[in-house]
């Protein structure tokens, strides 16, 4: 066991881990510092690769012994064969890519299932920020100003549901979490209002 497994996994990543079976092959788009992949390797015997563009993060991945490929997701996954992976993950990056629709389609081309997380722009606090202040919402989940945000395609749980329906994607699992990374009565009854983070597992 390496030091990475002893560190607490970010709660949303821990939830994703629970969806991934022993020995699966995984591609993690925008894998960051490789925390999830290292954890999956050590706890689930998962083999995988992370794609990342930030050099600092790439160095962290290498230090962790995680396979990391420098690649811009916006330029597609053309170098990866159809159906190459069991799972293709993308955590908290959907809102930052040029064409999220194309990325999700690519994820389902190279993987059997895609797991996507994004901040829900339909959350009541986001709505009230815009409603009462008349300004682009700034919060813990969306900490940037309108002019310097990497998030260029924010969407709501309802938007993503609609998108999956239109494209014929099956939503196999959906977790909508509140601020404490928990699912409560509110997020179950009214996910588009009370959910702060959405986690989807989809397939064709």
């Amino acid at each position: 066991m390496t030091e990475t497994t002893q560190q607490a996994l970010r709660p949303d990543l821990a939830l994703i881990r629970d969806w991934i079976p022993e020995g699966a092959s995984v591609l993690d788009l925008g894998c960051g510092d490789g925390q999830l992949l290292a954890n999956l390797r050590d706890t689930r015997n998962v083999r995988g690769y992370g794609l990342e563009i930030d050099q600092e993060n790439i160095a962290h991945c290498i230090e962790r012994g995680v396979n990391v490929i420098e690649q811009d997701i916006d330029e597609g996954l053309g170098n990866i064969a159809d159906g190459r992976f069991d799972y293709v993950l993308m955590t908290q990056a959907l809102q930052a890519v040029q064409r999220p629709d194309q990325v999700v389609a690519e994820m389902l081309r190279v993987g059997r299932e895609a797991i996507v997380t994004f901040p829900n722009f339909g959350h009541w606090r986001v709505r009230s920020y815009l409603f009462f202040k008349g300004r682009m919402p700034v919060s813990r989940r969306l900490p940037h100003q309108w002019y310097d945000t990497p998030n260029i395609h924010l969407c709501t749980v309802q938007d993503f549901d609609t998108h999956c329906r239109k494209r014929g994607y099956k939503v196999l699992d959906r977790l909508v979490l509140n601020n404490d990374h928990a699912s409560g009565l509110g997020t179950r009854l009214w996910p588009n209002v009370f959910g702060e983070i959405a986690i989807y597992r989809v397939s064709y």
């Binding site: 092959s25 160095a59 396979n67």
Partner: protein, 384 residues
């Protein structure tokens, strides 16, 4: 004068020559009955010989990769930026072996060596050697040094090709492979540049069909031209612009063919320096080894199948401004390794330094490479 005793330097080093009597069968179907390899080592081999790292040299490189041969040395070995105590290839933790390849001109058996059959320099009779042949000869050197498995085989450019071939040919003897600024085979454009370089040597009046040793001369102009062409391709347009621009040596045009622009002066200087200590026949051989390299050829032209032989984790690094071995060429290797599920990490380092970047201390590159090597050392030490 550099500081020979600087803390990051391996300091003074002495090369060793090893003689081999066991004939070496070559890919060209000829046999080298006996040969010598010259090599240097840095650091200490541990008790179970598990910390050995092989450094493979590029086209004009040799065994002297780090440190100094004497107190008077003006320059350290060719990869001193990466090899030494605390450097990415940390000699406090690794035992580093660097050799001059067969066919070379710095102490290993090559065209300038004496052919035992006739007592004369081999010259053009020296057999064509390939990357595969080099790897086989290096495996014998490893045997003699008591190294069963290399912790890592590392190389840039032509050296990266050797690292890749090692991983394919000797999967159980390579712990890790680093393929830097390299390619799985040359492009037609690359071969074309090599051909220009070779023709400039072959057509030099002092070449004498490769037997210039007997005429007490050498194809100086040919070598200078070959190196000038090579040098242009190793730098990037931006690097040249930054270094020389269109600066004139005297500040005005002379309307003649003497050196006027700084870049002309630089190229001539590089070419001349090179021509003084590199053997023309070796240059011909090494560029041909580059041209012939194509491990996929043994596997129905499938690079996927070729790299599927390998078992070790890879590090592949490219440089944005390297147009001789462009990032796309490295990505081909990465794609094949991913397709067959091999462990690989890949980084494309942003620099304007061109192909030569792999020899330089570029912080981002040094950091990634250092992180990769540290991981290897940590894993080795954890297992011990």
């Amino acid at each position: 004068m550099p500081d020979i005793h600087a803390p990051g330097s391996v300091g003074l080093v002495t090369p060793t020559v090893m003689h081999f009597d066991q004939p070496l069968e070559l890919e060209c179907h000829r046999v080298l009955p006996a040969y010598e390899l010259i090599y240097e080592t840095y650091g200490t081999l541990n008790a179970d010989a598990s910390n050995a790292v092989l450094i493979c040299h590029a086209l004009s490189g040799h065994h002297h990769a780090a440190g100094y041969h004497s107190e008077q040395d003006k320059r350290p070995g060719w990869w001193d930026s990466c090899i030494g105590p605390g450097k990415p290839i940390d000699t406090n933790r690794f035992f580093v072996v660097s050799l001059n390849n067969l066919g070379g001109c710095h102490g290993s058996t090559g065209p300038a060596s004496i052919n035992p059959d006739n007592g004369q320099p081999w010259g053009p009779d020296f057999p064509m050697v390939t990357v595969k042949d080099w790897v086989n000869s290096q495996a014998r050197l490893a045997d003699r040094l008591g190294i069963r498995t290399w912790a890592a085989v590392i190389g840039g450019s032509l050296g990266g090709m050797q690292a890749l071939q090692w991983a394919i040919d000797y999967p159980d003897r390579v712990g890790h492979a680093a393929v830097i600024a390299s390619a799985s085979k040359l492009s037609a454009q690359n071969i074309a540049f090599n051909e220009v370089a070779r023709q400039s040597i072959l057509t030099d009046p002092n070449f004498h069909g490769g037997r210039y040793y007997l005429h007490d001369t050498y194809p100086r102009q040919g070598l200078i031209l070959a190196r000038m062409v090579g040098h242009i391709t190793y730098l990037s347009d931006d690097a040249m612009r930054a270094k020389f621009g269109r600066d004139l040596r005297s500040g005005r045009f002379h309307f003649g063919f003497d050196v006027e622009f700084q870049v002309e002066s630089y190229l001539r200087h590089q070419g001349e320096t090179f021509s003084r200590h590199f053997d023309a026949n070796t240059y011909l051989l090494m560029t041909k080894a580059l041209d012939y390299f194509d491990p996929a050829r043994d596997f129905n032209d499938s690079l996927d199948q070729a790299v599927a032989q390998a078992r070790c984790p890879f590090l592949v690094v490219s440089f944005t401004s390297d147009w001789r071995f462009a990032p796309e060429r490295s990505e081909e290797i990465v794609r094949a390794l991913m397709a067959v599920g091999r462990d690989v990490s890949y980084a494309e380092v942003d620099t304007d330094k061109g192909h030569d970047a792999f020899l330089l201390d570029i912080p981002e590159y040094t950091r990634l490479f250092g992180a990769w090597m540290r991981r290897i050392a940590n894993d080795l030490e954890a297992r011990a």
